[in-house]
Symmetry: C2
Subunit: 125 residues, 2 copies
DNA sequence: TTGCTTAAGCTACAATTGTAAACTTAATTG
DNA sequence: CAATTAAGTTTACAATTGTAGCTTAAGCAA
């Protein structure tokens, strides 16, 4: 994913993306609105603006049926991994291990997490 | 560190923080400018604005000597760990291990990183 | 001491973001 | 078919951010 795309997904827009990622299929505004209006307390107009911005920045695709249906162009994986690398670049001088060290070291990991990570790194060839 | 503080350090401001973190002692504008003017191509006025904003948001402390000397209030560790937790909250549903899984899984880790992490999580058994 | 060079403070201004209303067009319903 | 409603488009507007100039005050050199 190009820096252009992901870097421009703002916090509010991300809420829309999350919803689209959760959905298996493309969704019409109605469906999007239904969820965000309640969970976020946003006005329909606000939600529409966010969707439009995402479409114009190429993060969401719109398909005309009876009414437009929206689906994510950028996958959640792409986005998360981009965001993570971005954090590493900006804050950890590009060193992924420093991120993890920081997590370990600031109690960012639960016992469970650590157990799981131990596993994760054990089996790895 | 409160959410208030860290969440408000913007990208440009972060460059100033990084410099202050690197410095062992408080620095006068001159010193800060010297470095950022070259590395970032910023005008003196810009640098001054960033410093002022950091001071007013409480991330940097200023001490009047002959001239003001600036030093970080928020430590780099505090900031990184905050930023990391923030990422986890926003993108990984609060699950630190998902962050790491994503790193592993998107080739965000070099062989070296993995070796080191394996050490880090080595089972003492 | 008087102006010259900066530091510090205040002001500016465009782009982005969060939030939304107003207007226009198309669809649904009586 | 006319009226209502909902979808889609355009416009708005304040806060934040990136970037910087202008003004005033103060220290230093001549």
């Amino acid at each position: 994913m190009s820096d252009n795309l992901a870097s421009k997904i703002t916090d509010s827009e991300l809420e829309v993306m999350k919803l689209l990622w959760r959905a298996k299929d493309a969704l019409p505004v109605t469906a999007i609105r239904e969820q965000l209006q309640e969970s976020k307390g946003w006005e329909p107009a606000t939600i529409k603006t966010l969707i439009s911005r995402l479409v114009s920045k190429g993060a969401v695709h719109q398909e005309k049926r009876n009414v437009y249906y929206y689906s994510p162009v950028i996958t959640q994986k792409e986005y998360s991994s981009w965001a993570t690398k971005d954090l590493i670049t900006r804050i950890y001088n590009g060193k992924a291990r420093d991120l993890i060290a920081s997590l370990v070291d600031s109690d960012g990991l639960s016992e469970d997490d650590i157990a799981e990570l131990r596993d994760m790194f054990k089996v790895e060839e």
